[in-house]
């Protein structure tokens, strides 16, 4: 959607480039003029830098959040849930059903057996590290195959949990945000003491917000006899349709099969409020910046009436004057845009969190300032330059030569 916005930029920029290449007023003239009025130039550029920085930072927030979900799924894996459950937290899957699915010949096998993991997904309340209350954090019980199936996840310290013991492996990212998640510490919940035996890193995916343990431990401690869901791997992404059809046809199972990627893509809904806020802020601030740029450019034009007259007397045409001043506005705003994008880079990687409204649990993610976003920020500043510079440039090109020479 962002890219669509810049389509009108292309012809305008093409025209300007053509105007600059075709002799015309040298760009160094604009550059020097900007330097001449450096206080005005710098303050306007700074204001634009602030606007662009806010734009990039807010978008990097929603980018970071979508990244958490988009990088979670694998295209050759499918998630089996209770029909209508929509999320694992709400789903349940009986042991018999799990056995039937595991016996399906379409599943991929590795040295230890079928790549299928019956899992139990619940939430627990943990105290925040900064003492500001508690939050719901996801606890996922997995079978050993489940750990092997998440290729994003890498153990960085300690070891994996042992099946049959209340042991937790936690994301390194959460360790700083919640109490008691350091290696070797124990936590008490669900009537059991859980020992943290390892920390992992999941490349910013949704698993970076989950505590992992043995599935039977979760079920016993909750006195549950049903799993939440089952994750299965198939030989190729296009085999999922056939597998889904077989699942739907089996009268013993009343389940819903979803591609793992689709399942997580749906959860990016969690980023909607931030995106909405980001768009609101961007539209409003862009308007404000356009007005400010216009102001500066008008003043630049007004202060240079005699110069413009001279240029015209030298033989430069109106169109060329228009292009020249438009270029000056673009330089002014582009300068601000680049500065703003660089400023935003300072936020890259900062950890933050929000709630996934579908599971009411904490999602931790990082500001993700990508080169694409920075380019979008600069493009926005160019848009500001075009919009804010056109009217003043138009005015400059319309000043009658005689009048200009008189002043």
């Amino acid at each position: 959607m962002g890219a669509l916005l810049f389509i009108p930029l292309v012809p305008a920029l093409a025209w300007l480039t053509w105007a600059a290449l075709r002799h015309a007023v040298p760009l160094s003239y604009n550059w020097r003029s900007l330097w001449q009025r450096r206080t005005a130039t710098l303050s306007t550029a700074l204001a634009i830098a602030v606007v662009v920085a806010i734009f990039v930072v807010v978008l990097s927030l929603s980018q970071g959040l979508s990244r958490a979900f988009v990088t979670s799924g694998r295209s050759d894996q499918a998630l089996v849930l209770r029909a209508n459950a929509r999320v694992e937290l709400n789903s349940s899957l009986e042991r018999d059903q799990a056995r039937i699915i595991k016996g399906d010949p379409r599943l991929v096998h590795d040295a230890w057996g079928p790549l299928a993991s019956a899992e139990c997904y619940v939430v627990v309340m943990l105290d925040r590290a900064d003492g500001s209350g508690a939050a719901n954090v996801a606890l996922r019980g997995l079978e050993p195959a489940g750990v092997r199936m998440r290729s994003q996840v890498r153990l960085i310290r300690g070891r994996w949990f042992n099946p049959g013991l209340p042991e937790l492996v936690v994301p390194a990212r959460l360790a700083g945000r919640f109490q008691g998640l350091d290696l070797g510490r124990t936590l008490a919940f669900n009537g059991r003491r859980w020992t943290v035996v390892g920390t992992f890193e999941a490349q910013g995916s949704a698993f970076d917000s989950e505590l992992w343990t043995d599935v039977d431990q979760v079920m016993q401690s909750r006195k549950r006899d049903a799993y939440s869901s089952m994750l299965v791997r198939l030989a190729a992404p296009d085999r999922i349709t056939g597998f889904t059809r077989a699942m739907d046809a089996d009268k013993r199972l009343k389940l819903e099969t979803r591609r793992e990627v689709d399942y997580y893509a749906d959860q990016t809904e969690a980023g909607k409020p931030i995106q909405y806020l980001g768009n609101l802020i961007t539209v409003i601030l862009t308007l404000g910046a356009i007005f400010a740029a216009m102001n500066t450019m008008y003043s630049a034009v007004a202060g240079r009436t005699a110069e413009i007259g001279t240029l015209r007397a030298l033989g430069f045409r109106r169109v060329e004057i228009l292009a020249s001043f438009q270029w000056e506005a673009l330089m002014l705003c582009g300068l601000g845009g680049v500065a703003g994008a660089v400023l935003a880079l300072g936020f890259n990687g900062i950890q933050t969190s929000t709630v996934n409204f579908q599971t009411f649990s904490d999602v931790s993610f990082a500001f993700n300032v990508t080169p694409g976003l920075m380019a979008q920020g600069v493009a926005f500043s160019i848009l500001m330059g075009l919009a804010g510079g056109f009217l003043p440039a138009w005015r400059a090109s319309r000043i009658p030569v005689t009048e200009a020479m008189k002043s």
């Binding site: 303050s43 602030v50 920085a53 209508n84 409020p273 709630v355």
Partner: protein
């Protein structure tokens, strides 16, 4: 005041510049007002005076764990307690998952007593029918309006958390002060308990109304102490604390909003300062003339400052005015994304803050250029004449 005319004249000297500066200020102030309004609205939910006598009791481990229904009897016997009901977030979907609204399974008898403030006005007979009819529900006016429900309409809900799909007849429609309170549906807990085996004798939370708000801390402590060593320990807190926890999970939106506010104010400060610098530079001669006529430096400074402050204040007023006008629109658009925002309002505090901030911007931005102007020797200024 004698010089008001002069100040206005100076502002109108370059109309386009004044207008552009005011517009630039106005949109920025508009943004600040809206962002601070969002913050204020969210905070309002965690500091709701109507909820001061209500306590939420739930499982200590998480909201998704269930408490035995029998706890209710013990809680009801406590001397401070006025009424208590069992409540379960049902999370049902109406037609499409995007149609999000709160729906709860509750014990109907004391519903209106617990939520006296929220379920404000309603038809007595409608609610009596609701209590008797197990397949009935009551809904808020705003929710009924949104989907065109009337008394007698059958509302099919699809369970997401629970594997049942109840078809509920609307028996009562209530009005409340806040829109968010009207975006809710309540139906019989019994329907849920009978339809879902694992819910037998279990519930997600109890909502307790205490006779005297001062007794709340004592009651909270007593309940949690009573069930401390139970298999299912409880966590009791005021409804406001409960709400705050949810809001906190939204993320550190407060810091984000404050940072953006500060950045925007900084940006308009430089924009205004730049405008005022331009104005002052253009008027070097004029200022010298004024001083040659006998105006003292302080007076000229005052005139220029007044001009800057007036400029900023005009921008601020326009921005605040726009924000007030846009509040209604925001309630609709943002409210569908974040339910809390369907009660978006701009508190007087926020508006005052914005005006103060803009006046401060006016003062700060004008001082330096104006001070420089009056420090310049008169002769130098007159030379340009």
């Amino acid at each position: 005041m004698r010089f008001l005319h002069l100040i206005l004249r100076s502002l109108l000297r370059s109309r386009r510049r004044t207008l552009l500066t005011i517009l630039s200020l106005a949109v920025s102030v508009f943004l600040v007002a809206v962002l601070q309004g969002i913050l204020g609205t969210l905070d309002g939910f965690a500091h709701n005076p109507d909820a001061s006598s209500r306590v939420a009791v739930r499982h200590k481990t998480s909201l998704a764990n269930l408490l035995p229904l029998r706890y209710e009897d013990w809680i009801r016997q406590q001397p401070e307690v006025d009424a208590v009901i069992a409540m379960q977030w049902f999370g049902g979907v109406y037609q499409d998952p995007r149609n999000f609204f709160a729906n709860f399974a509750v014990e109907p008898e004391f519903l209106t007593r617990i939520f006296k403030e929220e379920i404000g006005t309603y038809s007595e007979s409608g609610f009596r029918t609701f209590v008797k009819d197990r397949n009935a529900c009551v809904v808020g006016q705003a929710l009924a309006d949104k989907y065109g429900w009337k008394v007698g309409t059958v509302v099919p809900l699809k369970g997401t958390i629970f594997p049942i799909n109840p078809r509920l007849t609307v028996r009562g429609i209530y009005h409340s002060k806040r829109n968010a309170d009207e975006m809710a549906l309540y139906f019989h807990y019994k329907l849920l308990e009978e339809g879902v085996p694992r819910m037998k004798g279990k519930v997600g939370a109890f909502w307790v109304r205490v006779r005297n708000p001062n007794d709340v801390p004592r009651l909270i402590e007593r309940i949690d102490h009573q069930y401390r060593d139970a298999l299912e320990p409880t966590l009791s807190e005021t409804e406001n604390a409960f709400q705050l926890e949810f809001l906190k999970m939204l993320g550190d939106y407060a810091t984000m909003i404050h940072t953006i506010t500060a950045a925007v104010l900084f940006a308009i400060l430089i924009v205004t300062a730049s405008t005022m610098a331009m104005t002052v530079r253009e008027r070097t001669t004029e200022i010298a003339v004024l001083r040659a006529m006998g105006f003292r430096g302080g007076q000229v400074l005052g005139l220029l400052m007044a001009e800057g402050v007036l400029l900023a204040a005009l921008g601020g007023l326009l921005g605040v005015g726009l924000a007030t006008l846009a509040a209604g629109f925001l309630r609709h658009s943002a409210g569908s994304l974040i339910p809390w925002l369907s009660d978006f309002t701009l508190p007087a505090d926020t508006l005052l803050f914005c005006l103060h901030a803009t006046v401060a911007v006016g003062v700060l931005s004008t001082f330096l250029p104006a001070y420089q102007a009056i420090r310049r020797p008169i002769v130098e200024g007159l030379r340009a004449l």
